[in-house]
Symmetry: C2
Subunit: 202 residues, 2 copies
Amino acid sequence: MIQFTKDTASEKYNTRLQTIFNAASEIFAEKGYHQASIRNIAKATGVSLGHLYYYFSNKEELLYKISLNCFESVKFSCVEKLESATDSEERLLIFIENHVSYFVNHLNEMKILAHESDSLTGDFNEEILEIKRNYISILEAIVMEINPKITDPTIITFSIFGMMNWIYTWYNPKISSGISQIVETIFQMAISGIKNFELKKN
Amino acid sequence: MIQFTKDTASEKYNTRLQTIFNAASEIFAEKGYHQASIRNIAKATGVSLGHLYYYFSNKEELLYKISLNCFESVKFSCVEKLESATDSEERLLIFIENHVSYFVNHLNEMKILAHESDSLTGDFNEEILEIKRNYISILEAIVMEINPKITDPTIITFSIFGMMNWIYTWYNPKISSGISQIVETIFQMAISGIKNFELKKN
DNA sequence: ATTATTTTAGAACAAACGTACGATTTTTTA
DNA sequence: TAAAAAATCGTACGTTTGTTCTAAAATAAT
């Protein structure tokens, strides 16, 4: 019985926490982090202003936790899917497919990742930056696998990320069709860019 | 003599106005529009807080004028260069070269355009949106010129813009070399994406 | 049942913000 | 040189913000 009540209490806490994360993600994505107020989140969740601080200790920590959770999820899913693939080009396709797919299925969080990366400061910023660097280096490695002549994959890598991360500025989930055509297009462009990179110099 | 003093007065006004625009652009780009304060601009320019409102009537108008000037400049320069080119692929190269070149040479303003497009409201927003739509349609037309089979150029067009507009997140003018390699890479990827778009369906 | 603990709410605070205002200085005009 | 116009500054106001504090309500423990 104690177990039961404890569990439900904890479950209620976790449910509410998730509600807060979701509402905050939506509001951060819609209004931008600095334009979003804790009062907005209070109204959206039905939790009182003061009580929100029972779930997080300040606004920036909220952004940090949303960013952290999102980054680790997309990265985990990426690494997991890559494990079963050895062919370089297939690995590129998997990376792009995973990123775009996650992007479209978590538009709020990924918009935050793409658009509010400068809003974190200090240690919060440092930690997210570390994960980001690591995630980027996965794609860099794939690029250099496909074309070992490339010594500096910076331009190619960020161009691919540019195509993918720009999605939040134009993709409308209510109108646009599925993601397969987006993935195919970006993959085609990426492959071509990688294979032909610096070809003129030879 | 009157003419002279009048000219210098007007000249001083215009010079100062430009100083304010430049400082505001730098601060908006660095801290983001909403995090930037009029007091920041006052300190950066040496103009007092109150007197700044002699040059603009509110903060949003300042963002609007910066955005408008930047958009019209890059668009004007684009149209001008395109006039002399008839070959579709050459036109694509010109568009990309102009955009990237302007981007790198006006990093602050272009970052504002790319990053603060949601910060304008009402008529300000509407007017910038109109120019943006027009500018986008130039690239869309080029894409469909190159591959007339493309009925909906949305994905391709925004992918190209994604590559170009993402530059502000990684390009470091103090470290990175010239833009020619960036332009070549993006052009290569764009051409490939356009020519091979939806090829699988045939 | 009563005490202790956790959960929740609302008010209060200090800081920062955009903007308006009034006064003062500088420049132009007559 | 006197009057009019402009440029310029510092202050003040009202609002919004993130956060804290206090107290009440609900729940758990003994």
